[in-house]
Amino acid sequence: MTDQEILAGLGEIVEEIAGVPADEVTLSKSFVEDLDIDSLSMVEIAVAAQDKFGVEIPDDQLKDLTTVQDVVSFVAKNAEGSA
């Protein structure tokens, strides 16, 4: 899974859960500041990401993932680790 594939998948998830157009979900964006996504939606995004990518994002890690880049990197790193 490349970073581009993860980003594309994450964009679909964010669009479905938070109604933010997928093309606005770019690496430098902050979920809270730029995309107006709250903590409960972040949980829903984490759950959907687990279904899509097979990578669990626990709550205690989730709070540190503030940007789109953070989530993409977390998924990429942990998907590699478990492969």
Binding site: D38, M42, V43
Partner: protein, 330 residues
């Protein structure tokens, strides 16, 4: 003091083929607490509360209004609507987790105040799942022949345990009571209360707590949100399977009114259309074990329940405890 006349001579009934709900009753305190009221107390806003938990207003009991007081009103309404008399009731079960003291239990006092003489009486604490637990044990008691007619009540004064400087909890919880009268089905009739699917996740027990008599309710919101939105819809689906009912055949889904976003997520994953989801939380808040019977009683009053149809109930909360069953709407 118990007079000899108040001792029931117990004789078991013949086991029944099943139990059904005859009627509902509900009670909400008069005091309305709006989001704007809360915004004057803590750093929050109407928009923030609506978007996070879906609540517009909730009711708060007065300082002299107890769990028992609210249970009496809701129970009395359910009893009146059932067409039965107090003498017909031989078991009273109250689900609650917010009493002011632990003794006496609520159920015996409620029974006494309703003129129900010497029934079996016990309280159930399964937190927000309490009503579904109580309904299941009421049904089982009737099936076993240890009771004939049961008054089941969920009653809570959650605000007695809320820190009104904690904006994460004070916007959610509220007070109220709901009740149901449960009776045996006629011979040969199918059960009107389906098999319960229940359980608990004690490994997450520290995620929702009232840790002591001087403590406030505390919860780890994100963890509970994740659990409720991922672990509960399969429980609800299993309750439908066990009752032999398709999700598409449900006239209404009445989950514990925890948080609108949680219950909308569960309904979506279960495949229940939004218009069949009970959303009483919008004007009642989260009343823990009272929320399911309160929602049902308010829908019944509005004529929004279809008699004879299947309704799915799902309770979940601290423990973490959960229970679900399908009932036939009275």
């Amino acid at each position: 003091m118990t007079s000899p006349a108040q001792v029931r001579s117990f004789s078991p009934y013949p086991p029944a083929g099943g139990a059904r709900v005859l009627s509902f009753g509900g009670y909400q305190p008069a005091n309305v607490l709006t989001n704007d009221d809360l915004a004057a107390m803590v750093d929050t806003s109407d928009e923030w509360i609506r978007s996070r938990v879906g609540i517009v207003s909730r009711r708060v009991a007065g300082p002299d209004e107890s769990v028992t007081d609210m249970a009496v009103v809701a129970g009395g309404k359910a009893l009146a609507a059932s067409g039965l008399s107090p003498a017909d009731i031989d078991l009273v079960i109250v689900a609650t987790c917010s009493t002011e003291g632990s003794l006496p239990n609520v159920s015996a006092v409620v029974a006494h105040r309703l003129g129900i003489v010497a029934p079996g009486a016990y309280d159930v604490n399964a937190a927000c799942a309490g009503f579904c637990y109580a309904l299941a044990t009421a049904s089982d008691s009737i099936r076993a022949g240890s009771a004939r007619h049961v008054l089941v009540i969920g009653a809570e004064k959650m605000t007695a345990w809320i820190d009104f400087t904690d904006r994460s909890t004070c916007i959610i919880f509220a007070d109220g009571a709901g009740a149901a009268v449960v009776a045996p089905v006629a011979d040969g009739e199918p059960p009107g209360i389906g098999p319960v699917v229940w359980g608990s996740a004690g490994d997450l027990g520290d995620k929702i707590t009232i840790a002591g008599r001087n403590a406030f309710l505390w919860q780890e919101g994100q963890t509970v949100f994740r659990w409720a939105t991922t672990a509960m819809y399969p429980i609800a689906a299993r309750a439908c399977e066990r009752a032999g009912v398709e999700v598409s055949d449900l006239s209404v889904f009445v989950p514990h009114q925890a948080n609108l976003r949680i219950i909308e997520s569960i309904a979506r994953k279960l495949g229940v259309p939004r218009e069949r989801l009970a959303d009483d939380i919008v004007h009642a808040g989260n009343t823990s074990s009272a929320s399911i019977p309160l929602a049902l009683s308010r829908m019944a009053e509005r004529g929004d329940l279809k008699p004879g149809s299947a309704a799915l109930l799902l309770g979940f909360g601290a423990g973490l405890c959960y229970a679900a069953q399908v009932i036939t709407v009275p």
